[in-house]
Subunit: 96 residues, 4 copies
């Protein structure tokens, strides 16, 4: 399987770059904690990483809807039902 078979091919580079940055943010948060920095400053960075992570999820979800879900819906039947149930569960986890 590769990205072209999934919806995010056109955004793959952008998503990878953002995830790289988020990995760096989390590393930075760990170093702040190791250095004993002030709680609120660490919390501020966690909220920023959390928002960045959520926006990557929304981008992936948008691609998934536009490609995998749309294709399955056009096909109809159980293929569509499975894809729709799957994406609904993913949205519920995200919106929790």
């Amino acid at each position: 399987m590769n990205a072209t078979q999934h919806g995010y091919a056109s955004d793959q580079k952008r998503i990878i770059a953002r995830l790289n940055r988020i990995e760096g943010q989390v590393r930075g948060i760990r170093q702040m904690t190791e250095n004993g920095e002030y709680c609120i400053d660490i919390l501020t960075q966690i909220s920023a990483a959390d928002s960045a992570l959520k926006s990557v999820a929304l981008l992936l979800l948008d691609d998934h809807l536009h490609h995998c879900v749309a294709k399955a819906a056009a096909e109809g039947g159980t293929v569509a039902d499975e894809k729709l149930a799957e994406v609904s569960a993913a949205i519920a986890r995200l919106a929790k």
Copy 2:
């Protein structure tokens, strides 16, 4: 337009019943505040109403995906694109 043209016809009664309950919950929260009840008890009720509201949104979203979005996706073209962009924005508001 009525519910049958939208996806939630089969869940309409259930959604209305839940919204009725949430309306009652919010009224109860207001009465607790008028009676000067303890902040944490009021906050607990607000979290419960918030979860109930979010679960109604997820039910509506699931119905919308299964009907309106699936139908538009099967149609394809700009109809599908508009519906997909619209539902993506609704998901982003919910997951905010």
Copy 3:
């Protein structure tokens, strides 16, 4: 017990007015559902009511911190520990 013994006395009117509005918003959402209005329009209203509910919670929490928690913390001992554990749990429910 009344509001003056809890932290939100100075905001009580404001909180009650907002809760009144949210109650009206939820009633409006129910009527939109009864009228079979479009799913996305209903979802938009739910997100608005959800945000309004969360902002009431944050106002109450702020008052609670400034009064009940601050008072208990000044007292120290188990009174403070209980209040701090209680508010931490309320925050966790809200941030869920």
Copy 4:
């Protein structure tokens, strides 16, 4: 400044270990994306990392309340007001 002056000294190791794990989770999500894995599987991992990040924030917040905020509240005056306003803003960012 070090952790003992801030509230999370007793949890510092635990928080660092969790942040290490989350950093690994984000790296894993990036590798899944590079390998073109299925969108929903990536979304599932993002939701898991998001929850892990939020629980670190709640642990830090709990420590901060129990130590920095409680100490400032006992002191009273502007020191307390600043600390309370600061933690309220951090909670709002987290609950957004």
